[in-house]
Symmetry: C2
Subunit: 219 residues, 2 copies
DNA sequence: AATTAAATTTAGATTTGTCTAAAAATAATT
DNA sequence: AATTATTTTTAGACAAATCTAAATTTAATT
């Protein structure tokens, strides 16, 4: 079965809103989609008929297994395209969202898989959100590479990529250790170096190699 | 002003059909777009109101300057995406058309320009059709680089890129000269070498450097 | 528990792009 | 030139997605 862009946008919105426990309400959806509650009701009936969600009058909505699968496919495309725009086409990470909103509706299955392979099967998009794989599985976010940390998000060093004395010597000199709280202020695409800021210290730059050797978790 | 996917498809279809002299007829358009003549009439009125074409009842249609500009923009996107799919994502040149039909409607101007730059401002798509530049200008096809010649299209050597003795020595040894008729049987993306076939000879491979030094015209 | 407030649904209208069937205009043929 | 055939347009209807305004249900408050 195939779905319209509008239907896909509803499914995606419900997916993002239902991360908590309870059902997603009509008004929440109307706000998220910049439309009116009456329009939402109409569409929910339609999507229920297509078995993408469970919905009872006045009781809100939740995605079915099929609906979740569809949503994960759209999210996968959205985040892969964002990665492509930033990594391959040198867009700023803050200007890709709207373009990806269009690209996520391109239907070719083969395109998605080829794009994923071309990009090297990235696990996180430029904002640090996990990219679902072709089976819909997402990496758990708690242990991400410092190089994948989005700009201006506070994180805590949670691991190092090797135990080499050379690495540890460098970390000691920079006063970086497990538990150090930092954020990235800027990424330089020329050499993939990044400027980081540790609380109560001046910002300073570290190399791509060092950033790749550090794991952090968002706090 | 912005246009729907349907409107863009009409404009593109008219553009392709009006290459000759006369006006494009309602029935021609209906056939091209797999729709009915009545639907075409409705849309032509709408597009005329938007000043994209000139249309008089029963007399067919032609694009206005604005319409041509829009059409060239769509064709530009279509062919750039085809180039991307083949060159970057390793699609076969025969399986990209439908995907490009979707991608050509992505609206971001910045995306098109960045994509063009990333691809190295290609002049021809994988089928050998010229790609309009950002001003809508297309290269004249009669003198294309051998490396841009599509697979399995007969062409005739029409020029060489340099007059160096080294090049001419090589050409003499391979029995290639101005007027030689050949076609490409295969392109190898690993080193951009190509396998060519000259009438009454066995196929053989030539290097990227040699292919880039040869110009051909389609016959 | 009754009443007010908020959220949700229904009913009916609108826009976009399409269709069928009938009418009108143009082209082809005798 | 008159008739037939073809092409094109009009008229009216339909599906998708939306809206406003009114009705209904649920939640909150006195």
């Amino acid at each position: 079965m195939s779905f319209s862009i509008t239907e896909e946008n509803y499914i995606k919105a419900i997916f993002h809103l239902q991360q908590g426990e309870g059902n997603v309400t009509t008004n929440e959806l109307a706000a998220e989609l910049h439309t009116k509650a009456a329009s939402v009701t109409d569409m929910l009936k339609k999507l229920k008929a297509k078995k993408l969600l469970s919905y009872e009058k006045y009781k809100g909505v939740r995605l079915s297994a099929d609906g979740k699968k569809l949503a994960l496919g759209i999210v996968r495309k959205h985040r892969l395209w964002e990665y492509f725009l930033v990594d391959t086409l040198q867009f700023g990470w803050d200007e890709v969202h709207e373009v990806a909103e269009e690209l996520e509706h391109i239907s070719s299955k083969k395109l998605v898989e080829k794009l994923d392979a071309f990009l090297g099967f990235p696990k996180f998009d430029p904002h640090g959100d996990p990219i679902p794989d072709s089976h819909g599985k997402m990496a758990v976010q708690q242990h991400i590479n410092l190089i994948d940390l989005p700009v201006n998000k506070m994180a805590e060093v949670s691991g190092v990529g090797s135990q080499s004395t050379e690495l540890l010597e460098l970390l000691k000199h920079k006063h970086i250790g497990i538990g150090t709280k930092l954020e990235i202020k800027k990424k330089f695409s020329f050499d993939n170096s990044i400027e980081i800021k540790i609380k109560n210290q001046n910002a300073f730059t570290i190399s791509q190699q060092l950033a790749q050797a550090l794991f952090v978790k968002l706090i």
